[in-house]
């Protein structure tokens, strides 16, 4: 009886701790030593399917976390830095959509960061030096959440502006792209 109660309590505490993790808000930033001034190094292009999807986080992103705070800040930045101009609110326009499950250059945080920092062929400009490391982390977290890769309890349902795509909270998996087979 006591043992079971203890086990239940332990599980409960564990669940609560997880919830706590999603809500943590950090206001201190990793010092310059933890993070080289020029964030992820440029690498040779990796066209098509990325071989390193799901690879561990790039050590150059020490502050990266997919918390509610990071995703919501990232969302502000997404609009402010005019990502909307090409990718719309995830549905894509001039640039590729971000809310499907098709990641041309990989969906790992370091790969998304690489796309933003180094730019990609056919129009994605490089933001090297223009985006502070913290902001890059937040933007990556938001972009990944657009594709349904962030946890449902950390994303927000609605923007304060008109949007014609489904709410992120209702997006349990990314929208599959018809006509493309993925393993």
């Amino acid at each position: 009886m006591t043992g079971r109660a203890l086990r239940t309590a332990a599980i409960l505490v564990g669940v609560l701790a997880c919830a706590c993790e999603r809500e943590r808000r950090t206001f201190t930033e990793p010092g310059p030593k933890a993070r080289p001034a020029s964030a992820p190094p440029s690498s040779s292009l990796v066209p098509g399917e990325s071989p390193i999807e799901g690879a561990p986080l790039d050590p150059a992103m020490p502050g990266y976390a997919e918390t509610a705070q990071a995703i919501s800040e990232g969302k502000l930045l997404y609009t402010w830095f005019n990502c909307v101009g090409c990718h719309a609110h995830g549905g894509g326009a001039m640039g590729p959509p971000l809310m499907d499950d098709d990641w041309i250059y990989g969906s790992a945080p370091s790969e998304v960061a690489q796309s933003i920092i180094a730019g990609r062929p056919r129009g994605m400009p490089s933001y090297r030096g223009k985006i502070a490391p913290t902001q890059l982390d937040q933007l990556v977290a938001y972009v990944r959440s657009l594709g349904g890769l962030a946890r449902g309890d950390a994303v927000q349902a609605r923007d304060e502006h008109i949007r014609l795509t489904p709410a992120p909270t209702l997006q349990h998996a990314a929208i599959p792209r018809p006509g493309r087979d993925r393993p």
Binding site: R25, F27, T28, E29, P32, R35, A37, E73, L76, W80, F81, G129, K130, I131, A132, P133, T134, Q135, E160
Partner: protein
């Protein structure tokens, strides 16, 4: 002592003065009511305590029709006085309301747009020719003696514009435009603070109002309409390059350069402002450096990210920003 530059009871213009005189009416009537009610309460209680000490518990159901009638008369009288007093207060309040609205008809009012943002104030003096509009932050300069018409709105959540020495508050609500009219008669410096809870840094969202003689104000506004001063020396030239090559440029605008971000405060004349980060720090070169390197330690939660710069770049940037008078 509290700061007289931020006080309801030290009015600096007709709006706040009208409200302060209404305050006096309410305060004195309230004191009178308080004294009367507490006195009769104390007398009644004292009498009843004494009676119990003298006579013991007695019969709780005993009735005395004579004193009953007297009491009812007393209550009716007190009730009537209450109604009359409240009516008088209502009339005083409505008259004050109309007095406050008097400025709204002034056609010669100076039009200023104030936009609340998390957690700073964007202030725009429009011009028919848009490039000549002046945009500044956290400092509202106005000429004394002239009606000011503030157009209030918000870019994110609800804020509230409140400078106690000038006027009551008015909310800045996203999707709406609110208006308020005020006038200052005394030149001077007045302080205000966001009054509607707006998130983490609600406590550090201050605004300073500078009331200036009309000619001083005109000169200030003419200067603010100018583009930024070009870099004065080699160090400042390098600073401008650092600015446009660093994350600063995505959020901040400096008129006359390629920096056109509209998300943070306009820095065209940043060095002319007295304080940094919506009143959080005095605008000194040391504070500015600290604010650029680690804003989160000054205003945790602020949307300004930390920017790591090489020391030489930082000094160049500071030299350039210090020149933006």
């Amino acid at each position: 002592m509290t700061d007289p530059r931020i006080s309801v009871l030290d009015p600096a213009g007709p709006q706040a003065a009208t409200i302060a005189s209404l305050w006096d009416v309410f305060l004195w009537i309230s004191i009178a009511v308080f004294v009367l009610v507490i006195a009769s309460f104390a007398v009644a209680t004292g009498r009843a305590v004494g009676r119990r000490r003298r006579d013991g518990d007695g019969d709780p159901l005993a009735e005395d029709p004579v004193s009953e009638r007297r009491m009812i008369r007393g209550i009716v009288l007190a009730g009537t006085v209450t109604v009359v007093t409240l009516l008088a207060l209502l009339i005083a309040s409505i008259r004050t309301g109309s007095a406050l609205a008097a400025l709204e008809d002034d056609a010669g009012a100076l039009h200023v747009r104030v936009t609340g943002r998390q957690w700073w104030w964007q202030i725009e003096y429009e011009h028919d020719d848009p490039p000549h509009s002046a945009t500044t932050a956290n400092e509202l300069h106005i000429p004394v003696g002239r009606t000011i018409h503030l157009e209030l709105t918000s870019a994110d959540v609800i804020h509230s514009f409140w400078v106690p020495s000038l006027h009551g508050k008015k909310d800045l609500i996203p999707g709406r435009i609110n208006r308020t009219w005020l006038r200052i008669d005394e030149p001077g410096e007045y302080l205000g603070q966001c009054a509607e809870f707006c998130g983490l840094e609600h406590a550090r969202m201050a605004i300073t109002v500078y009331a200036e003689p009309p000619e001083v104000f005109s000169a200030w506004l003419a200067h603010q309409r100018e583009p930024a001063a070009p870099p004065a020396d080699g160090q400042a030239v390098r600073g401008l390059a650092v600015f446009t090559g660093s994350p600063c440029v995505l959020c901040h605008a400096i008129a006359g350069t390629s920096a056109g971000g509209r998300l943070g405060p306009d820095l065209t004349h940043a060095a002319s402002r007295a304080r940094l980060a919506a009143g959080a720090l005095p605008n000194t070169i040391g504070n500015l450096a600290g604010w650029i390197l680690d804003p989160q330690s000054v205003k945790p939660g602020s949307h300004m990210p930390a920017t790591s710069l090489a020391p030489a770049d930082l000094h160049a940037l500071l030299a350039y920003l210090e020149g933006l008078r």
